[in-house]
């Protein structure tokens, strides 16, 4: 039921209207003057007020002002004297909703009340809508806030250092991970430092240029860089980053830094323990290998002595060559051990790689022929005089071609015509490529895996397992690469690439 307040100084009107409005379904209060009316209104907060404008004491306009102050949404219908338009307009100026003339006609009152009710209803709906909308906005805001907090938390707890900047490079995000790597406290960095103060040289430039769009780059791929922390420690990290855009405008940047200290430490430890395990294996393998050399030396001495006693020159040659060969084998072994255990700087000098390859082929040809293996040479004539580590090439090729020959010798197939092929080729970016292929016994996956990782030999007592390790080490020292392609029972191809300087 709508509450209605009737303020009129004429008792007759109050009584009649109260009765008829009560019948129309309003909860009617009455007051005889402005002062009394405001008291009642303050208590009840009526939705509609019928207000006589001409009253003794406080006049209607005053009462209207007060009501609108107390409760602006109240529908105030003014009752004016007939033809008193000025008063009516004045009342409307003060936010009265409507006016009716005295003497009050039922019809006019009914229309005024109907309009007031409609306005009340619209206002109520509007209020509901507004409240709904406010509620929705509140929920949405909370959701946005929750998500932002969630993302913030993700950034905070990330082990990776995350550093974000605005479009000018001022740091606005700097998480715990970043603290651990860079050493600066968050409160000394966020909104106080620029990436120019924090980032190391190479990426600092790239980020600044990226932010200014001097270089068309928006993403920095993963790479390893070293961060010098606040305390001067050099921290290895894996870094990537991005320039951030919104509608083609640069809005900032972000950098991700993964701390590699622990990984590096574990790697070091692993290498150490692998070395130790390998040493044990090597000693056993070496002992066997040395026994074979020893029997060659003893045998050589024996044969030489017999030949001397009998004055047999033919036998003397054979005994002496045994001694020579085994002295060479032990020399090679010692050299291999030394080059495996010591760092060696490549010694660049002018040389002809094809000639070195030919030397190696010629050196090993007798052994190959003895075992019915063809050595095929396919050299790239465009390789001329270059500056390379000629000793390294010699060692590497000698090793790989010997291995290839052994792979044929140890092959138990009886249908193959064995061949070892040596290719040389000049590649772009100043690399010489050499392939050593054989159609010997090949390798299965297990052997391939062990190939470069330990002192591993497929040749029983005839190998030390040092050859490929040394080969790989020399190639690395020379800044080259080695790869292998092999099929069990079919053969193997070793491919090496070595950088060269200058070519005539």
């Amino acid at each position: 039921m709508l509450k209605l307040l009737l303020i009129d100084d004429e008792e007759g009107i109050r009584k009649i209207l109260a009765i008829s409005l009560g019948k129309d379904g309003y909860l009617v209060s009455t007051a005889k003057d402005g002062k009394n009316g405001l008291e009642v209104f303050n208590r009840e907060k009526h939705s509609i007020v019928l207000l006589d404008i001409k009253m003794p004491g406080m006049d209607g306009i005053e009462v209207l002002k007060h009501i609108k102050e107390i409760h602006p949404a109240t529908e105030v219908i003014i009752i004016t004297g007939h033809g008193d338009m000025d008063t009516a307009i004045n009342a409307l100026k003060h936010d009265a909703s409507d006016f009716i003339n005295k003497p009050i006609k039922d019809e006019a009152l009914a229309i005024a009340l109907k309009r007031a009710k409609e306005r009340l209803s619209i206002r109520k709906k509007l209020k509901e809508y507004t409240e709904d909308l406010e509620h929705m906005v509140k929920i949405a805001t909370e959701e946005v806030k929750r998500r932002a907090e969630f993302q913030n938390k993700l950034i905070t707890i990330s082990n990776d250092g995350i550093i974000a900047t605005d479009g000018w490079g001022n740091i606005i995000t700097y998480n715990q991970g970043a603290e651990i790597i860079f050493g600066h406290r968050r409160n000394k960095v966020i909104r106080k430092m620029n990436i120019a103060d924090l980032y190391p040289e190479p990426i600092k430039e790239e980020f600044i240029q990226g932010l200014h769009q001097e270089i068309a780059i928006d993403h920095f791929l993963w790479r390893e860089i070293s961060i010098v922390s606040k305390d001067g420690e050099s921290v290895p990290t894996r870094f990537s980053g991005s320039i951030l855009f919104e509608k083609n405008e640069v809005i900032g940047s972000v950098g991700f830094f993964r701390d590699l200290r622990e990984v590096k430490r574990l790697q070091q430890e692993l290498i150490k323990s692998e070395r130790l395990a390998a040493t044990g294996q090597t000693v056993a393998g070496l002992a066997h290998y040395i026994k074979n050399i020893l029997i060659g030396l003893r045998g050589g001495i024996y044969v030489t002595n017999i030949a001397l006693a009998k004055n047999n020159t033919e036998k003397l040659k054979s005994g002496w060559s045994m001694i020579e060969r085994n002295v060479n084998r032990i020399t090679d072994l010692v050299l291999d051990l030394l080059s495996y255990s010591k760092e060696r700087k490549p010694e660049f000098e002018d040389c002809y790689p094809n000639e070195i390859a030919e030397e190696v082929c010629a050196l090993l040809e007798p052994k190959a022929k003895e075992n019915h293996i063809n050595i095929i040479r396919d050299f790239d004539d465009s390789i001329g005089k270059v500056s390379m580590d000629s000793q390294a090439i010699h060692r590497i090729l000698l090793n790989l071609v010997s291995n290839a020959i052994d792979a044929c010798i140890f092959d138990s197939s009886d249908k193959k015509i064995w061949a070892v092929q040596i290719n040389t080729a000049r590649e772009h970016n100043h690399m010489i490529r050499m392939d050593v292929s054989d159609n010997g016994f090949g390798m299965d996956e297990g052997v391939k895996k062990k190939l470069f990782t330990s002192f591993f030999s497929t040749k029983g007592g005839k190998g030390t397992g040092l050859g490929l390790l040394v080969t790989q080490k020399i190639i690395k020292e020379n800044g080259g690469t080695i790869s292998v392609d092999s099929t069990d029972g079919v053969g193997s191809t070793f491919t090496i690439r070595l950088p060269y300087r200058g070519m005539e």
């Binding site: 026994k291 074979n292 029997i295 017999i306 010798i409 029983g460 007592g461």
Partner: protein, 128 residues
């Protein structure tokens, strides 16, 4: 007497055949198990001196084949290897455990490096 020397190392072949010849025997050589089998068939040696680790039919396999073949099992064999005797015997036991026929121990086993006198002595004892 005819002695077959089987070793993939040329130095060992020259050394052992010199010892054999110095002791007034005839020497023939083979550089792997396959060649050895052919030479045994052809030349019918009175003694085989055999290495263990070789390409193309290892000494482990050849030894087994000879000792389980009625035509050859009587030929005495001296194993001459860098591998310890017990390792060689263990490998033969393993093959037997796998269901292959059991084989007797070799007539003699010498570990490399071997002194010429010891080798000559062993040849003499084995042939006796």
């Amino acid at each position: 007497m005819k002695v077959l020397i089987v070793d993939d190392d040329a130095d060992v072949r020259v050394f052992v055949s010199t010892v054999v010849e110095e002791n007034n025997h005839t020497s023939i050589v083979a550089k792997n198990g396959e060649e050895a089998l052919a030479k045994i068939k052809e030349e019918k040696p009175d003694l085989v001196i055999l290495d263990v680790l070789m390409p193309k039919r290892s000494g482990i396999k050849l030894y087994r084949e000879l000792k389980t073949d009625d035509s050859y099992k009587k030929i005495p064999i001296i194993m001459l290897s860098g591998i310890a005797k017990r390792t060689f015997l263990r490998s033969q036991e393993a093959l037997t455990e796998f269901g292959e026929e059991g084989v007797p121990e070799p007539e003699a086993y010498l570990e490399k490096p071997v002194e010429p006198e010891e080798l000559a002595e062993t040849i003499k004892e084995t042939m006796a």
